[in-house]
């Protein structure tokens, strides 16, 4: 009979023999990278027109329109690189997080210039139930319910609503914000975010000059956007007054229903040439219903004023989106309505109104790929373009790769 010591030694020896080098590695955990890189590439086949898109200084109200030939406007179908996004993230000391995003949107930027979309430092305290966060850097306002996909792309359709398209085209602020969230003992989730940022002195100018549009353009601080007669910078600061914004939310514990209220005022000082004073409010409702149905509804109302030349306008838009999802597939239907009302009868009227219906089907293929189809039917009128209905419809097929 072997002694207990011998048996122990033998047992340990057998354990070591049984554990092959492969087995040794079995229990190792990959070390998480403290710096990470992600990318998104969106290639599309698009059909639109006959009017050229606003991105080509045309009257078209979708991102892709027709072409301008000697015979007039023509419908066009083409392949386009819609977006190449690069996201860099880092876990920093003191539980801080850094995020930077650069986008290339050749048709919007009129070239392959990368735009700086986001550059933030963020720190949170607490947990999902209750806590608060602080953030500094360059970011958009967090009012869009639709831009919740990878690299801030719309999640439910290819093109966001007119309301949220504008928010992501025209607003890019450098500043700070603080956020608080809390779940009460009765199961009510409350949230409040307050922010201040520079760079919003020309917010609203795009709507006055161009009007509303439907698309998925992601504006950047160093970018500019096409207008009928030229281009307008996104990030402009002349009066050294920060824009102020807040985002308040109320939801049940499981966030089946949520009500959100956003307030924005750029506090523009119109004593400075070229500074616009734009303020708006937005209210939003989110419902996650049984049968995997999501409902989003959002309304925005505001005013954009400028002294020189006078071009004051009131702005309003709303949409209702219903979406059904099942195992990586999503079908969405959205109704959009938008209006700009000229307040001062200036030299060029900003009056416009319109509505659109968007249908989209999206399917996720594995971890890396998403294919989406979208059709938009639109009816709009803008005083400066007369009775022309610039973009009756358009379709897109998008293939997104994400790494």
């Amino acid at each position: 009979m072997l002694s207990a010591r011998a048996r122990n030694s033998c047992s340990l020896l057998i354990t070591c023999v049984l554990l092959s080098p492969q087995a040794h590695a079995q229990y190792e955990v990959e070390t998480p990278q403290s710096v990470w890189l992600r990318a998104l590439l969106d290639v599309r086949v698009v059909g639109g027109g006959p009017a050229p898109s606003w991105t080509d200084h045309g009257p078209g109200k979708m991102r892709y329109g027709g072409s301008n030939s000697p015979e007039g406007f023509e419908r066009t179908t083409r392949v386009a690189l819609s977006q190449a996004a690069l996201q860099l993230g880092a876990a920093l000391p003191w539980d801080m997080r850094a995020q930077v995003q650069m986008n290339i949107e050749p048709d919007v930027a009129d070239g392959y210039h990368p735009w700086l979309v986001e550059a933030i430092l963020r720190r949170e305290w607490g947990n999902a139930e209750s806590g608060w966060g602080a953030q500094a850097g360059l970011a958009n306002v967090p009012f869009s319910l639709e831009h919740s996909g990878p690299a801030w792309t719309p999640e439910y359709t290819i093109s966001a609503s007119a309301l949220n398209s504008w928010l992501w085209e025209d607003i890019s602020l450098a500043g700070m914000e603080g956020e608080w969230w809390h779940t009460t003992t009765s199961g009510i989730r409350l949230g409040a975010l307050l922010g201040a940022g520079y760079g919003g002195d020309q917010i609203g100018r795009l709507l006055a000059l161009r009007g509303w549009a439907l698309g998925d353009v992601i504006g950047g601080a160093n970018g500019d956007l096409a207008t009928p007669t030229g281009r307008t910078d996104i990030f402009v600061e002349h009066d050294e007054r920060p824009a102020l914004y807040s985002w308040l939310s109320l939801a049940d514990e499981s966030e089946t229903a949520a009500l959100k209220l956003g307030l924005f005022d750029n506090l523009g000082n119109q004593d400075h040439p070229g500074v616009w004073h734009t303020h708006f409010d937005t209210v939003a409702l989110v419902l996650h219903l049984p049968a995997r149905i999501d409902v989003l509804a959002q309304y925005l109302d505001g005013v954009a004023r400028v002294h020189t030349p006078p071009n004051d306008s009131s702005l309003s838009a709303y949409y209702v989106l219903v979406s059904h999802h099942f195992r990586g597939q999503r079908v969405s239907l959205r109704y959009d309505s938008f209006r700009v009302h000229d307040l001062d009868g200036g030299p060029s009227s900003t009056n416009e109104h319109g509505h659109a219906v968007t249908g989209a089907y999206l399917v996720q293929i594995g971890l890396r790929c998403q294919v989406a189809l979208e059709y938009i039917r639109m009816n709009s009128h803008r005083d400066v373009t007369g009775s022309l209905n610039p973009t009756p419809d358009g379709w897109q097929m998008s293939v997104r790769f994400r790494y």
Partner: protein, 218 residues
């Protein structure tokens, strides 16, 4: 029986004697896991390395939920051959995946209870993550034995329902600098509770900071 075969039988019998617990009443091993600095370590997994046994715990389907952009539980030890469900009780979509050699899988964008089960048929660490929310991370530790225990907040564990006999017990932690076999302790289990202490040097934790506020809603 010739001499050679007789010797081989003796050797095999000796091995089996070390591998097979002697019959007897169910007993238990308890103890604690501490770090090199003496501080207690929670969420360490202590398990029987030898002899391997699949008895003592049924292989019922386990669950890793997703609540508030967090895997719950963040660490799930299971015996090899167990299926795991991944329901998503957030109102946003998650896309759960793993590239670990022990199990590569992905569950496309979903929410609710509809995600299919994943069957874990290979021993090892399976690190799970969400393709949308980069800070979401969890571990499924697939073990060759049903005799395992996770240390509580005080670093304590109990391995129950062991038959009396000799066991090799090891400890594992996500941040441990030691491989489990380097922590092996040979333990004789009898009717009394046997006490075992493990000391694990841990490396630094480097989780990606979570985003619970509205900026983390995508």
């Amino acid at each position: 029986m010739d001499t050679r075969r007789w010797r081989q039988s003796i050797i095999v019998s000796t091995y089996l004697a070390t591998l097979t617990p002697a019959p007897g009443n169910a007993a238990a091993v308890s103890g604690s896991v501490t770090g090199s600095d003496g501080k207690v370590i929670a969420d360490a997994v202590v398990f029987v390395q030898a002899p391997g046994s699949l008895q003592g715990r049924t292989k019922s389907t386990q669950v890793v939920d997703q609540i508030h952009k967090t895997f719950v539980p963040g660490l799930l030890p299971i015996v090899v051959g167990t299926a795991v469900r991944f329901p998503n009780h957030d109102q946003i979509h998650h896309h759960v995946y793993s590239f670990s050699p022990a199990k590569t899988f992905e569950l496309p964008l979903y929410k609710g209870e509809v995600a299919p089960e994943v069957f874990f048929d290979k021993v090892g660490v399976v690190k799970i993550a969400c393709n949308i929310h980069d800070w979401m991370s969890g571990i499924i530790l697939v073990l060759p034995t049903s005799h395992f225990s996770v240390t509580d907040a005080q670093g304590r564990f109990v391995l129950e329902n062991l038959s009396a006999g000799e066991y090799t017990i090891v400890a594992w932690h996500e941040l441990s600098k030691l491989k489990p076999e380097a922590t092996a302790q040979s333990v004789r289990v009898d009717r009394d509770m046997t006490e075992v202490t493990f000391s694990l040097p841990l490396g630094p934790a480097r989780p990606r900071p979570a985003m619970h506020g509205v900026r983390g809603e995508p």
